[in-house]
């Protein structure tokens, strides 16, 4: 799964630490999310969506075919 977190954060001129503080997670978590090394839980994904005021599916892009995902 990929995401637009880095772009959205850059648009708001936030640092990773700013975003981490807003979400209540560590900076390492934000970095892992932005580099696609970690997919967030559903509650965290919704928290991110609420923060940026966009639907989850516009932030997180499920580009893995269903057959590969299972």
């Amino acid at each position: 799964m990929t995401n637009r977190l880095r772009v959205l954060r850059a648009e708001r001129k936030w640092s990773q630490a700013d975003l981490a503080a807003a979400l209540g997670v560590s900076r390492q978590t934000v970095n892992a999310l932005e580099t696609d090394k970690y997919d967030p839980s559903l509650p965290l994904a919704y928290r991110i969506a609420r923060l940026f005021g966009q639907p989850v599916e516009q932030i997180f892009l499920d580009d893995v075919p269903l057959a590969q995902a299972t």
Binding site: G24, V25, S26, Q28, T29, N31, A32, Y38, P40, S41
Partner: protein
């Protein structure tokens, strides 16, 4: 959500370890001087230092719950690696004792093996998400 800060965690850890040291010294003093001779009582006195270990266990669980989801995943992967590595190492040593006459070792060695492999596991997991 538990708000156990790193500073508070290490402060509490230090206090539990200090209590462990005090209990251990006291327990050994009582047992070595044979102040208690009745065997069931000696067993209880010998296990008294482990009271502090339960405190450390409780503290670690609180620490785990206070982390965000990625850190929890890293901690869990570290424990998983440590558990598996310790199982493999101790079981392998058991075979070597049977087949190659390796010497008996104290059960005290299990914890250092677990702690070391747990630390390696957490380090590896941490690297994965950097």
């Amino acid at each position: 959500m538990d708000t156990l800060t790193t500073r508070r965690y290490f402060t509490e850890l230090f206090l539990w370890l200090a209590l462990y040291a005090v209990l251990l010294i006291g327990s050994l003093a009582v047992l070595d001087r044979h102040l208690v001779t009745w065997m069931p009582a000696r067993i209880v006195v010998g296990l008294v230092p482990m009271v502090a270990a339960f405190g450390v266990l409780n503290l670690y669980m609180r620490r785990y719950r206070a982390q965000d989801e990625l850190k929890q995943k890293i901690m869990a992967e570290g424990i998983m690696f440590g558990f598996g590595a310790t199982a493999i190492l101790t079981f392998s040593y058991g075979f070597l004792q049977r087949t190659a006459d390796f010497p008996d070792v104290s059960w005290f060695f299990v914890w250092p093996v677990l702690a070391f492999s747990w630390a390696i596991g957490e380090w590896l997991a941490c690297r994965r998400y950097q």
